[in-house]
């Protein structure tokens, strides 16, 4: 516990970066993921193909490689720090999984609903937004919750590119104090501070939506 006291500011800084990266990536991946999910269920062959290629690329490459690609290759053209590179990679990677979850949600909605909405004069975008997506998300919530929790834990990828996150600071403290075991227990506890409330919130959402349905 003296380890925690001695290095509290270091851990706190790491916690802040992890939290920030998680929030940015969570919002970003939800928006991107939903967009590519919708692309995959449109009638246009081109849009479907594009959505599919995007998902297959980012879902099937290890997160570390995507991160290093941004940190080492893209950074030569567009200046970005390790934190930015890691957060962007995390967003793209997670969005591919979220696209699949949301797509599964959309497919679970009876196609008749879309047809009905269109027949009543709603545009495709309106019908999606008002009729299909709310129902799709209700179905997708449990698997989205999984993705979000994975996202928080995957943010430890920032440590590999000097992203100043919890894992990065943990590595430094462990290397300086040689107290590897205690350091990583503290790091694990800090991750729980983010992931546990997130888990319970997702459960709460599930219950809420079940009651409404």
């Amino acid at each position: 516990m003296t380890l925690l006291e001695d290095h509290f500011s270091v851990f706190a800084q790491g916690f802040g970066h992890t939290l920030l990266a998680s929030i940015i990536a969570l919002i970003g991946s939800l928006v991107l993921g939903t967009f590519f999910a919708i692309l995959q269920v449109t009638k246009s062959k081109w849009a479907r193909g594009l959505g599919n290629v995007y998902v297959q690329i980012f879902r099937n490459i290890p997160l570390l490689i995507i991160t290093l690609f941004f940190y080492l290759a893209v950074a030569k053209v567009i200046k970005m720090t390790g934190f930015t590179a890691g957060t962007v990679a995390l967003t793209l990677y997670t969005s591919a999984f979220i696209a699949e979850s949301v797509r599964a949600g959309i497919l679970s909605v009876d196609p008749g609903q879309m047809e009905g909405a269109r027949a009543n004069g709603l545009s495709f975008a309106q019908a999606m937004r008002v009729i299909v997506l709310p129902q799709a998300f209700r179905v997708a919530i449990p698997s989205l919750g999984n993705q979000f929790i994975n996202l928080v834990k995957n943010s430890s990828i920032l440590a590999f590119v000097g992203g100043l996150d919890l894992m990065y600071q943990g590595n430094l403290v462990a290397a300086n104090t040689f107290d590897t075991f205690a350091t990583y227990i503290i790091v694990g506890a800090f991750y729980l501070i983010i992931t546990l409330p997130l888990s319970y919130y997702i459960q709460y959402l599930e219950r809420q939506l079940k009651q409404k349905a």
Partner: protein
Amino acid sequence: MEKAKKRRFGIIASIVLALVIVLGFFWASATISKNGKHQDTLTRVEKQGKINWGVKADTKLFGLMNTKTGTPEGFDIDLAKAVTKQIGKQTGKKLTPTFTPVTSASKVQLLKNTNIDAVMAVMTITPERAKVVDFSNAYFPAGQSLLVQKDSGINSVNDLNDSSKTVLVVVGTTAAQNIKKFAPKAKVIALQDYASAMQALKAGQGQAISTDNAILYGLATENPSYHVVGGTLTYGPYGAAFDHDEKPMVKQTNEALATLKKNGEYNRLIKKWFSGVPGLNWHELEVHG
């Protein structure tokens, strides 16, 4: 029917879970008692007939994995082999060296867990580390320096003392503290290993890599558009490391090192690894007398 099935599943699941916990407990207690005995390192290596050295696998000239043969090669590895043979002669037991790749961050923990017997991995001897591990006498004179791009205009550590400059270091090395001392305004980013640090330098994520000159020379041989500047900021010789309070093993190693330096084997290895390095006067590394 449905209920019975569920119940049976529940019972089986509980039994499996209980078994896993019990087995895990046995395994853990066995490990603890094994570590608790804390065998003397010298006794252990004599009994096993081998010394398991923790070495670097990513550091050119000292310990670099040869991807064709799958074994690490370098000065540290050759010296560890020679020391093993020499300790074998001294104790009259036949010893063979084995090698385990370690990182800067993991080496001490592996030593404590007795996964490895000794570390010969470009490890600088420092007073803080000496509280946790035992060091042999120095086997290589190293000092911290800087690697920068040739046309960067950076000539010394003073050129880096600016908040717009980023210095890249490797986690678990002593370089970060020293940079904060010599260039307090510079940002310091720690990466996982030297290969990543070099890639990051090339990508413009930092203006310099700082670590021991010997390692930087290794990076410079592979990347001709980069060079070592600024002389040495600190003097930090390398030593072989062992678990804490392993006096017999340290004594044997020091004896072996002294013999190797006397009989010319040490100089032969210096020549083998450092005579081809541009910009380095390898004769300075030789020991005489």
